[in-house]
């Protein structure tokens, strides 16, 4: 599988002195189509622009190239990856190549037959996401009446098939107060691990930020409830890990986003665009496509992947900071969405001159009630509407994010 060319370390046009290491993680976004309409979706707002999906053969090629380069972890995601009829064939090929295969799904479209077929194909892990603890709120958030019951049935089927079960709940202002009931539900379903991750504000979640951002008090209560559950579970000898993630906006230090731009991770979008993370498509830059260029060249040689490697690109504030090799200046998408400058220090950093922006957003949020900001559902109609608006809401929110927030 591994040819000689792939074992050579390319230094290429990487602006830093460090040689580029091989990718470890491939996220295969098979489609942007999805039966749900979650208002916190991280897909691009303009997802309807990219309807020309890679076919099965093209995905086979992506998988072979990425594996030969060293990638070992593979996520099948979307959109809803179950919409792709060739999912089982892709899983089978990936598993034979030696990938550890994860399916990240809403569970909609899953049946017990398909759970078995995926197991047969060699799938290693299925992660199902839950929207809420009860069907009413789940419907309000995801726009589907049947989805919640199906998710619960499929979570049980996944467990019964012997997969390690990781449940994922995206938390926000509307469901975070249910956290105790959500953990109880995951416990009942037999989860091995639960990710209680507050949504981060990218894509549709950025558009809906005001409606989604919890108050600081909600976060403190939710984390305390999570800690109480950890003690209860430990006392019962129940092995179910709980991971609680706060929104970046409430932090003082930025995350080492994706372990560093172009360091370990790459996303292949449904149309074949290759991105350093699944949100990067919203940055004002061009990304290469597997239809035209090999993954090898994209990873080691492309301007897009070399753009934010190393420290040369950093603002002086970051270049002089001892954390520069740990947090890599934070998240480029977050810097861009909040400041309009993708080379800025991530405003999550307390040393950023724009950190006050986040403190103001959190303070302002206290003054509003959830019903003052309706959730805009993530669907094709809204996506087209946003693209067609005069001056385009999409470019407006990029350049002056406060305007959208204050609407």
């Amino acid at each position: 599988m591994v040819n000689e060319k792939n074992t050579v370390t390319h230094n290429g046009v990487n602006p830093s002195a460090e040689p580029t290491s091989p990718p470890l993680w491939l996220l295969a976004e098979l489609t942007y189509r999805c039966p749900l309409q979650c208002a916190y979706c991280s897909n691009p707002l303009a997802f309807t622009r990219y309807q020309n999906e890679l076919d099965t053969e093209a995905w086979f090629s992506v998988l072979r190239q990425a594996r030969a380069m060293g990638a070992a972890q593979l996520g099948f995601s979307g959109g809803e990856p179950l919409i792709r009829k060739d999912l089982e064939v892709l899983v089978s090929e990936a598993r034979q190549l030696g990938f550890y295969t994860n399916l990240l799904t809403s569970g909609v479209g899953l049946t017990t037959q398909r759970v078995d077929a995926l197991a047969e194909a060699g799938l290693d892990h299925i992660q199902i996401s839950l929207q809420a603890a009860d069907p009413e709120l789940a419907q309000a958030l995801a726009g589907s009446a049947k989805a919640h019951a199906n998710k619960l049935a499929m979570a049980k089927a996944v467990k019964a098939a012997g997969y390690p079960m990781v449940l994922n709940v995206v938390l926000h202002r509307h469901n975070i107060d249910q956290i105790g009931a959500l953990i109880a539900l995951c416990d009942e379903l037999g989860a091995d691990a639960v990710e209680l991750a507050n949504c981060q504000y990218y894509g549709w979640a950025f558009l809906n930020r005001q409606a989604l951002m919890p108050t600081r008090e909600q976060l403190i209560r939710a984390e305390a409830e999570t800690n109480r559950w950890r003690e209860t579970l430990a006392a019962r000898g129940r092995d179910m890990s709980l991971l609680f993630v706060v929104p970046d906006y409430f932090e003082q230090a930025p995350k080492a986003c994706m372990g560093g731009w172009g360091s370990i991770f790459m996303t292949v979008a449904p149309d074949g665009a290759v991105l350093p993370c699944h949100s990067a498509r919203e940055l004002p830059m061009a990304f290469p496509n597997v239809k035209e260029t090999s993954l090898q060249d994209i990873w080691y040689q492309s301007d897009a992947f070399n753009r934010f490697r190393g420290t040369q690109w950093m603002p002086t504030l970051c270049q002089q900071c001892d954390e520069r090799d740990k947090d890599h200046g934070g998240c480029r998408c977050q810097a861009y969405l909040l400041t309009g400058d993708m080379t800025a220090t991530d405003p999550v950093c307390q040393h950023s001159p724009q950190h006050g922006l986040l403190e103001n957003l959190i303070a302002d949020n206290l003054q509003s009630t959830p019903d003052q900001a309706p959730l805009i559902p993530r669907n094709a109609r809204q996506s087209k509407h946003l693209q067609s608006q005069d001056g385009s809401a999409i470019s407006t929110h990029r350049q002056i994010p406060e305007l959208i927030y204050r609407q």
């Binding site: 591994v2 792939n6 074992t7 091989p22 470890l24 993680w25 380069m69 060293g70 070992a72 972890q73 996520g75 030696g98 550890y100 994860n102 290693d124 892990h125 992660q127 012997g162 997969y163 390690p164 990781v166 691990a193 984390e223 800690n227 950890r230 003690e231 430990a234 092995d239 890990s241 609680f244 706060v246």
Partner: protein
């Protein structure tokens, strides 16, 4: 914000019995040990995660097949590396760590022996 988690986890770990030489472990279901030629090391792969292993860690985990006891594994490795000092403590310590990381499933544990 995550201080309490660490304390709870540590407490849970201390309460567990230490690994004994007669115990039999295997990798937990859904966890996979694999040689990665490009990285030049063994890795352990699990849901949405991956850890690169040192040569010693890889050699120990390779032997965890759900049949051999820890004592068997120590003997095999001792034979493979005859120049090394007693490997028993290192192996036990690593298996303890691996178990606390949640990588292992118990096949057979002899408590209090």
């Amino acid at each position: 914000m995550s201080q309490q988690l660490t304390q709870t986890q540590k407490l849970a770990q201390i309460q567990k019995n230490p690994v004994a030489q007669q115990d039999i472990y295997q990798l937990r279901r859904g966890w996979r040990l694999q040689w990665e030629a490009i990285q030049g090391c063994h890795v352990i792969l699990y849901p949405e995660g991956m850890v690169k292993l040192s040569p010693t860690a890889g050699a120990i985990l390779e032997q965890l097949d759900g049949h051999q006891t820890i004592a068997d594994i120590i003997a095999i490795l001792q034979q493979r590396y005859p120049d090394a000092d007693s490997l028993a403590d290192d192996v036990l310590q690593f298996i303890n760590e691996a178990r606390d990381n949640g990588w292992l499933a118990v096949k057979e544990v002899h408590c209090g022996q």
